[in-house]
Symmetry: C2
Subunit: 300 residues, 2 copies
């Protein structure tokens, strides 16, 4: 493999016109330059220069090699510049995958923060439920995954993944604003006889589990991942629901009443691949997310 230092020497000789001048320009001793040229000629197998009086002159091959080398060295130089820009966060990329209600609440604030502090960083966003987000993370399709857990035991295959807790998200019982109930409004047992509207699959499982702990089995008549639709259904009197805080921050239907259920909640986490520290752009996004979580004010 040819050595770039040698090429740099040849370029200097071509530019300066003599071995001695090139050595001076490179802060080398003159014999070092001579030696480099000898080795370079041996490597490429072509005479690169001929002695002319007490000086030298490049052959056609030498001129060709020097020209090409100059271009290659320039590319290497610009490569260094590119890498320095990456290192200095003047450029970069981070891909975030988040679950819907976070994408509507936390993510815009964090994204604004990132682009304000580091205009060069390109941020791309996509939406997915936690299992898909973790899968994408492992598959290197995204750099950060914003997920939630219902106090689930951490899955086994998360060794490579670093979780950063962001937020303890409360859960609310969502009921029609114009109805009255007997019993405490903030306890599930008060709605044991009602029809339920469930969110995504994992949320439904969590609902069933929470009701079971409260001593009843909920009658789930509707199931939709659209949390806007859930509130509309509740307001229309078709049932009651259990919704996480972020969905209510994102969207609040005037025809529903919210009652925060103590002892229930989800944990919102940011997941990145590998051990800390994460890559610089990912770390910037994580910092922006943690800086954002102080802000959301939970509904009533």
């Amino acid at each position: 493999m040819i050595d770039l230092s040698r090429l740099r020497v040849l370029v200097a000789v071509a530019r300066e016109g003599s071995v001695t001048a090139a050595a001076e320009a490179l802060h080398y001793a003159q014999p070092s330059v001579s030696h480099h040229l000898t080795k370079l000629e041996a490597e490429v197998g072509v005479p690169l220069l001929q002695r002319m009086g007490r000086g030298i002159r490049l052959t056609d091959a030498g001129r060709l090699l020097a020209d090409r080398a100059e271009s290659i060295l320039a590319q290497v130089e610009s490569l260094h510049v590119e890498l320095d820009e990456l290192a200095g966060l003047r450029t970069g990329r981070v891909r975030l995958m988040a679950f819907p209600s976070a994408l509507a609440t936390l993510v815009p604030l964090a994204a604004a923060r990132v682009t304000a502090e580091h205009p060069g960083i390109e941020l791309s966003l996509s939406e997915a439920e936690p299992p898909e987000a973790l899968s994408a993370l492992r598959n290197n399709d995204v750099d950060v995954a914003l997920i939630f857990e219902h106090g689930d035991p951490p899955q086994r295959d998360r060794r490579d993944i670093t979780m950063t807790p962001l937020l303890a998200e409360p859960l609310y019982v969502v009921t029609p604003a114009d109805r009255t109930w007997s019993g405490p409004r903030a306890e599930l047992t008060s709605y044991a006889g009602d029809r339920w509207i469930a969110g995504c699959e994992r949320c439904r499982e969590h609902l069933v589990a929470a009701c079971a702990r409260a001593g009843f089995s909920p009658a789930v008549d509707f199931e939709t991942e659209d949390y806007v639709a859930v509130q509309a259904l509740v307001a229309a009197g078709l049932g009651v629901s259990l919704l996480p805080g972020l969905t209510l921050v994102a969207n609040r239907h005037p025809g529903v009443r919210l009652d925060r259920v103590d002892g229930l909640g989800r944990q919102v986490l940011a997941a990145v691949c590998g051990k800390p520290p994460a890559s610089k752009p990912a770390q910037v996004l994580l910092d922006a997310l943690t800086a954002t979580i102080a802000e959301p004010a939970w509904p009533s």
Copy 2:
């Protein structure tokens, strides 16, 4: 200065997906690859890869560097190919400068020989009198100079220049075909009383010197570098002339008579810059010229 071997290692790691596989592909030991990667990261100052389980994964910076490196390595490879073509005479260039009568006689034959044997070599031709040709040779405007000497003592500044004798060119007295002279036709003294037509400046000087040696001073009425015109002038009865053989090989006016003057002549030489061996393409041209000189048949 970054090392191309390191870049090649990184490219192999990117391509193979693991350090061990890259080491195998490169016929390196695994620790050597690890070491290269560590050094490379230190040089560029950016993390290039992160451990993932028991394997590794390239960071964005690593991917960028590997991509750029692949391009650079490809250029180095094609550079080697170009140089090999130069070395193998499958390509190349040689610039010849010759005096007019040689350009009309020897050069076409030699040029045909060169392009027949080495179709890849680009041959460029130009015309100049010997002093200008030598100057161009020293100035690196041409690679080979075809010149003549009237037995001149070699000039002082020809240390860097290698002369290859090609041809001893005879000189002819050119007289009108329909005139008669008293005295031997092949001796200058027979034409002491005639008017003379001289060629180029150096030829005129030589003519005057030769006549002086013969014991008279020629009356030079016409002077032209156009050897075709010289014969036409002679044929028209405007004077006599002394022309070198090659000009007569190139062009023969039917109205003139030629008489070879023994003891007079020019030496035709090929000059190249520097000590032998000359550059390969120049050597090819020199060989073609020496192979050509056997051919010219001097007039009558």
